[in-house]
């Protein structure tokens, strides 16, 4: 049962991590408006489950809920995006089109498109590590990827991002 002091504790412990939640959701869903809805839903859900939070890393705890809510949302609204995980080496999402990428003069935009073109499972580890600065242990907690596999997943994700950016740069040269 949530008491008034639980709300205060929630506001002190969990709400400071709303930026992290918004950032993860935005990259998972590749859309600002959709991600705002999901962050809202996930935070409310976290509040309802707050009784189950027994101290520890509040950011990882919130991000885990945000991540799960993102996947549920994708499964419901854009199931095709989750299918790409099975043939991640063949299939590329529309934004990855090298011509589109190369034509982006703006570095920020280029990086955005390249990151968005990666499969969700690569995108999440990159966002958590490179933007959020999470440790491997935290990444494992949030994504459910076994601790021993975080490093290799991250390695493949970085390699894919690097390739995507290189292809774009090569196209631009012509």
């Amino acid at each position: 049962m949530l008491e008034p002091e639980d709300r205060i504790r929630f506001e002190q412990l969990v709400l400071p991590h709303l930026d992290s939640a918004a950032n993860l959701a935005r990259w998972m869903l590749r859309d600002r408006a959709d991600s705002e809805d999901v962050v809202q839903e996930a935070t409310l859900r976290a509040f309802r489950f707050f009784g189950r939070f027994h101290g520890g890393d509040a950011r990882a705890w919130l991000l885990q809920i945000v991540r799960n809510t993102c996947y549920t949302w994708l499964g419901k609204n854009r199931p095709a995006e989750l299918m790409t995980e099975f043939d991640e080496d063949v299939h590329q999402l529309p934004a990855a089109n090298p011509e589109t990428l190369a034509s982006q003069a703006d570095e920020r935009q280029r990086l955005t498109l390249a990151l968005e073109s990666l499969p969700p499972r690569f995108r999440e580890v990159l966002v958590l590590r490179e933007l959020e600065g999470c440790s491997y242990k935290e990444i494992g907690e949030i994504t459910g990827i076994p601790f021993g596999t975080v490093m290799s997943t991250l390695s493949r994700a970085r390699e894919r991002l690097r390739q995507t950016l290189t292809v774009a740069a090569a196209k631009e040269a012509f």
């Binding site: 709300r7 409310l44 920020r108 490093m151 690097r162 950016l165």
Partner: protein, 253 residues
């Protein structure tokens, strides 16, 4: 790529996730392996590129506000449901079904409403007290002189808070600030008691108060609140409850 380490271990090394032994081993390997050296440079430059691109998405103030509001609502709902079910259980056997229903409705309006409302206000006050203790938040006007603090509130509030210094009784006034409680601009006077700070919140409260005097303790903070005329007073501190009562008796003997 042919070097196996260049594919995975190097990432653990770059991210500082290898233990000391493996890290030292890898460094020895790195000195001799050109492939790993160039892979490390690649990881580094990708990292720098991402850091400099400014692609981190922050939550918008609108969404933050919306979430805060929703959580307040959700918190209000759970405590209201709890109260009403407790009341029903007590009253139903005493009156007939109709009377019970009427009583429950009456209670909802006159008892539960103010009760949950005062619980909510208390939660807000504790919030405000905790916030005030964060660096730089305690005082807008810092003075032990009541004749400095009192005029400071002029024109900032639509009421005049009573400002007195109780140094001689062991509660020196140290300053004041503006706060918001229950949607009202509120005067917050800060007293000190030995090494503790005490916030006195004063705001206009014209609704009929069911339980005018109350006090309690939550999260290690004590509070005493009371009504005087159309003003509501609340003292909050981590100082002893007896200290708060003593100060209350000084303010309203």
């Amino acid at each position: 790529m042919s070097c196996e380490l260049a594919q995975t271990t190097i990432h653990g090394y770059f991210d500082g996730e290898l233990d000391a032994v493996r890290s030292a081993e890898f460094e020895r390997h790195l000195e001799r392996c050109a492939e790993c050296q160039s892979a490390l440079a690649g990881i580094e430059s990708l990292h720098t590129r991402i850091q400099q691109s400014n692609i981190y998405e922050q939550v918008s103030p609108e969404v933050r506000d919306r979430i805060r509001k929703q959580i307040k609502q959700a918190a209000g709902r759970t405590s209201a449901t709890l109260e009403s079910s407790r009341r029903k259980w007590f009253l139903a056997p005493t009156f007939g079904a109709l009377a019970a229903a009427a009583a429950v409705i009456t209670i909802m309006f006159f008892v539960i409403q103010p009760r949950t409302q005062s619980a909510r206000i208390t939660a807000e006050l504790i919030d405000a007290h905790v916030r005030s203790l964060q660096p730089g938040h305690l005082m807008d006007v810092q003075s032990t002189d009541q004749h400095t603090v009192k005029p400071w509130f002029d024109g900032k509030l639509d009421f005049i808070p009573p400002v007195s210094d109780y140094s001689e009784q062991g509660f020196p006034l140290v300053g004041g600030r503006l706060d918001v409680v229950d949607g009202h601009n509120t005067a917050a006077l800060v007293y000190s008691r030995r090494k503790h700070f005490i916030n006195l919140f004063v705001w206009p409260y014209r609704e009929k108060e069911f339980n005018p005097d109350n006090s309690g303790s939550r999260q290690g903070y004590n509070w005493v609140s009371w009504q005087s005329g159309e003003m509501r007073f609340c003292l909050i501190s981590d100082a002893a409850a007896s200290d708060l009562r003593e100060l209350k008796d000084l303010i309203h003997p």
